[in-house]
Amino acid sequence: MSLMEAVMRRLGIPALVVLAASITGTPGDEGRVPISQPTTITKSGSYLLTRDISVASGNLITIQASDVTLDLNGKALQIVATSDVLIALGSGASRLRVKNGRLIGGASGVATIAGAGPISLEASGLVLLNQSSDAIGTSLAGDVSVTDCVFRRTGNSGVAVSALPSDPDSAVRVADNVFSDIQNRSIIVSNARTVAILHNVSSETVNGIQISYNGFAAPGGSDIVQGNTLEERTAVATPGDGIDIFFVSGSRRTALVLDNVVSGFTRGMLLAGDGFRVAGNLVHRGATTGGATGDGVVLSSNSQSLIEDNQIQGNAGCGIVLNSTTLGNAYRNNMLRGNTGGAVCNTGSGNTDAGGNIL
């Protein structure tokens, strides 16, 4: 008689009851499937990490199913090597939610891998540390949300989202994240139709935020970049751009850039496209480098953009630059003192000083 059998007999508990208790341990996990070792998820469902997992190399969790929720349960996944992906999104992965834990090391924290199709991803409450490449990187993105995460010591970009070309549904929201010590861009989004980048704070980043559109995206396109605070990376000789948005001229795409604090970049803002409204921002400490003069806000090839109510001061170059290929833009009510290259450097055509600028 086994020990357990003796116990059951003494207490009058049938073996079936004990077995049932064991099985109903899973409902103790609220019906979620526990993960306690490197795993490939091939079925839809809700998964729960039940212990820290560390591997020397290799992708740690691979998702190859749709409609998967992965709760890291406050635990940590770690790859010691600087290659491979902690949570790899592979073939068949879509409509995914990853939340609540730490991702340490590896090349990427959450990223698409070869064979991945269109991805819908929601990442929240994550801490991503010491990735050698992008902390979160998705290609063929449909809609992506990254919120309430912390990125630290990232070898390339913090959030790198490349949307599915020509997908009219693509939408990206990156909000309320903290970025610290980023060796390329804190946030880069390519070809997404609708983008909101809100209230992120970033310190020691080579480039701040980049949104690009290379002509393959769906018609239109709208972006809002608001309330972000960006400090440049001092450890490099050539810091990049604070906010860099470029669209193919005539794409009918536009952006609101509001209430951001941008400090110490080669160009505080570098904007190419049509119909931007750039308002309420603080852009300062623009730094001269070999390739740029440390301007505040630069319109490189825009038309019909409006720059108003910004505080642009203390830059090594010009406060506002309207390049020779710009046309029909306007600026007003900006505070433009203390810019070494001058308040406004305008070589464009038909740009309007609409008054109220403080020089």
């Binding site: 003796a6 349960n73 406050g74 940590a76 730490r102 605070t229 209430d259 400090s263 505070m335």
Partner: protein, 358 residues
């Protein structure tokens, strides 16, 4: 054999209880008594814990998640240095959430210096501390969100750093009855303080940038906060203070859309360069003997823009540009009903850019 058999029911119960705990905790390590955490992992508090003095939980490991699980950790005294959740040597990259922290000298604080990495505190209610509720020194990346602070003997959130990569995100917290500063951030390079509600505090929000160490830049966004001074405090100080010492004058801040009531002064920019103060309501500034009760005070520094604010009903001036200021500007402010006058300007090159309502 008989003795062994008698012990079996107890053993069974223990086995079942242990098994149940592990399942209910989803793999987390339970804490039910004063504890020193020395291993990385995810911990869950499974019952309220009260001590007369000393720390309740001390963390001496990195990558620790501590879920308070809605429970309460209490130190019954407020003896100096006793900390409810103390961060000891070797600890970094910590997450604390979801419960109550009561009493003691401090709520969550590091006990010694050393780089702390990523620190996250969310959904924790703090009350009855003798000094700071949260105090992090040598902080790198910090988030404090959806917490409540009540009856705090010094500051609600106190964060210090000198790291180039330091950043803080203080969002959506409630503060009530704070004897010193609700939020104070020293030498944190990138800061966002958003949508906090502060009632009955000596000082509302303070970002300080001092040298040494001289970390280049320094940027802050302070937006959407509602701040009321302490009604029982004889000498309320600043509602919002953006301070840089001489030699660290490249700090700048956006101060937008805050409501500041009853301080002396309401908003102050001290040194620094190029703040933009816009869209705020600043009222009920009080004269304290140390301060005239001004609305917005540009104490020193250059190229600050004050626009579109509602600054009214202050005991002192609506806007003040001190003698040490240079090349600042103001416009489109509503400046009626300020006892000391609408604008008190003794600075150099200050520009009235028009549109002010006097």
């Amino acid at each position: 054999m008989a003795a062994s058999t008698r012990s079996l029911p107890t053993l069974f119960v223990l086995l079942m209880a242990a098994g149940h705990t592990l399942l209910a905790d989803e793999g987390r390590i339970p804490i039910f008594q004063p504890t020193t955490i020395t291993s990385t992992g995810s911990y869950v508090v499974t019952r309220d814990i009260t001590v007369a003095s000393g720390n309740v939980i001390t963390i001496q490991a990195s990558y620790v998640t501590l879920d308070l699980n809605g429970k309460t950790l209490t130190i019954q005294s407020t003896v100096p240095e006793d900390t409810v959740i103390g961060i000891g040597p070797g600890a970094s990259n910590l997450r604390v959430r979801n419960g109550r922290v009561v009493g003691g000298w401090r709520g969550v604080a590091n006990l010694l210096g050393g780089a702390l990495g990523v620190l996250e505190v969310s959904k924790v209610s703090f009350s009855g501390h003798g000094a700071d509720a949260i105090r992090f020194q040598s902080a790198d990346a910090v988030t404090v969100s959806e917490c409540r602070f009540r009856k705090v003997g010094n500051s609600g959130v106190s964060i210090q750093s000198a790291a180039l990569s330091s950043a803080a995100h203080i969002v959506g917290n409630d503060f009530s009855d704070v004897d010193n500063r609700a939020i104070t951030l020293t030498n944190v390079r990138s800061v966002e303080v958003l949508n906090n509600v502060i009632s009955n505090a000596n000082t509302g929000i303070e970002t300080v940038y001092v040298s040494p160490p001289l970390v280049p830049g320094g940027s802050s966004l302070i937006q959407g906060n509602v701040i009321e001074a302490g009604s029982d405090i004889a000498l309320p100080a600043d509602g919002i203070l953006v301070y840089a010492s001489v030699g660290a004058q490249l700090q700048a801040a956006l101060v937008l859309d805050n409501v500041v009531s009853g301080f002396a002064p309401g908003i102050e920019v001290h040194s620094g360069q190029g703040a933009r103060i816009s869209g705020n309501v600043v009222h009920r500034g009080v004269s304290t003997g140390l301060s005239n009760g001004d609305g917005i005070l540009v104490f020193s520094g250059a190229q600050t823009l004050v626009e579109g604010n509602e600054v009214q009903g202050n005991a002192g001036c609506g806007l003040v540009f001190n003698a040490g200021t240079n090349a600042n500007a103001y416009r489109n402010n509503m400046l009626r009903g300020n006892g000391g006058g609408a604008v008190c300007n003794t600075g150099v090159g200050t520009t009235d850019a028009g549109g002010n309502i006097l």
